[in-house]
Amino acid sequence: MKGMRNAACVVMLLGSWAASIVHAQWLNYPSSGVPRLENGRVDLAARAPRTLDGHPDLSGVWHVEVTPIEEWRNKLGEADVARRQAAAIAGMGIGTNSIYTTNLKLDLAPGEQRQLLRPAAIARMREPAATVSESCLPLGYPRSTLLASVTKLIQSPTVLVMLIEEGNWYRQLYLDGRPLPNDPQPSWLGYSTGHWEGDTLVVDTNGLNDRVSLDGVGHPRSESMRMSERYRRLDFGHLAVPLTFDDPIYYTKPWGLTINYVLQADSDILEYVCAENEKDRAHLTR
């Protein structure tokens, strides 16, 4: 039943998402002030823009680098890919998102992946997965940015705002020099501060809750987790973000990966109201 409900929920979400795409606006609006090739397309290899204060400007609409189907086959095997394709919903499955949504440790050897896990993590991963997105709760960062949806960065001198299309959430990454809070109230999106090291924005996050896992295989996060993000805009169209997760409750040592994003020029984020077209309430009992 649970599987059915989850599937129904995904269909519902997909339905509203697909409906939005058709008539949505500003998805093809040519932005002003961006470098273009002779054919009018945005020059993704042009130099990264800078703000008035001289730092790289990370602003833009970003989509995670999509993993080609060949790479899924190479890394997960033909049978696994076939199973995922059969279960996938058109427009949201393999070929539209990042393979890391399944497992953030995918690039590590299986033995190395296991060595990182403390017994508490193994126990947690054996529990049934929490129904997070089915309940319209945040998938968290980076997971919600690894799907077939975009993330918009808006940079001001004192804060980098991250608008997350999946679930319609925002994160604030404070650039005003404040320290991370001590013993903060655990939250879904955490507390984040950033500082520049040359052209790299280094962001530290704490105060995350433990109610959502980091990826599809269920790597957990605890309230003690610290996450480090290093944002580097390589050129106009490419953003690389090496991530490190430091969580001594669940992992034997810090680990991480690099997530690459590609600029979605002349486009924008869509409104995504998870509770819209909600069909569960009619089935509530007293």
């Binding site: 932005s31 002003s32 709760l137 940079q155 705002v161 939250s187 105060g207 819209e276």
Partner: protein
């Protein structure tokens, strides 16, 4: 009603251990005793226009009294200004637009801007408003783009802004007709056009005049003004409406 209580509890629960609620932010005009100087001159951005950035909260609604004043969306609506068309009367008779915040759907303007604090962040091409209410946000495009024609109806609509001297004028269209104008659960249609005029008269004070223009529902446009003050040295709280949700355990399988 039940969900209203839930929201109040969530708000109180979040406040207890939350952080950065008392962090003295840099770049704030202050008096000698360290308190923010709310009557200091209006700050200006690199373009010479008023800098609207800051955390704003509506006047005369002290934080912490939310539970006692759930309807305190502190804008005054003059009843004589609000004249319904026949279609508007019909919709009002049928309970307005029913799908308001109870199932964690977005709140609408102008109540959205006055229910809880909001934060304005300006960048080159866009002004973003972060609302504490349900962690909602709006983008106001400042790059000269026109409003979309026949947009997909949206809860937040589509917004473009331009400066009229020292006033930021924001036009928003493309709303869906699922929610109501707050306060008062007044109906609106998908023809709703809201014009907001943001004016920061000094460091500490911002007024927003809302003009509600919906020819299907109202015989003439009507306006309300919200007066807000800056609340420095604090921050928005995370507000996830579906957190602590208690309904799912009561769901039936309905034979599937």
């Amino acid at each position: 009603m039940r969900v209203c209580f839930l929201l109040v509890f969530t708000l109180c629960g979040t406040s207890v251990g939350a952080q950065w609620l008392n962090y003295p932010a840099p770049g704030i005009a202050r008096l000698r005793d360290g308190t923010p100087n709310l009557s200091a001159p209006t700050p200006r951005g690199a373009n010479g226009k008023p800098d609207l950035d800051g955390i704003w909260f509506v006047d005369e609604t002290p934080l912490g009294t939310f539970g006692e004043r759930p309807a305190a969306l502190r804008v005054e609506i003059k009843p004589e200004d609000v004249v319904l068309t026949p279609e508007g009367q019909d919709r009002q008779r049928h309970g307005g637009n029913s799908r308001v915040s109870s199932p964690c759907l977005p709140l609408s303007l102008p109540g959205l801007s006055t229910a809880q604090p909001m934060k304005i962040v300006s960048s080159k091409n866009v002004v973003v408003i972060l609302y504490e209410v349900m962690t909602l946000y709006r983008q106001i495009f400042m790059d000269g783009r026109p409003l979309p024609k026949e947009p997909n109806p949206a809860w937040m609509g589509y917004s473009v802004g331009k400066w009229d001297a020292d006033t930021l004028v924001v036009d928003t269209t493309g709303f869906n007709d699922q929610d109501s104008i707050l306060p008062g659960r007044r109906p609106h249609s998908d023809a709703l056009h809201i014009i907001e005029r943001f004016r920061r008269r000094d460091f500490g004070h911002l007024s927003i005049q809302f003009t509600i223009d919906d020819p299907k529902i109202y015989a003439k446009p009507w306006t309300v003004v919200a007066n807000l003050h800056v609340t420095p040295d604090t921050e928005l709280l995370e507000y996830i409406c579906n957190e602590n949700e208690k309904d799912v355990s009561h769901m039936q399988t309905s034979g599937r």
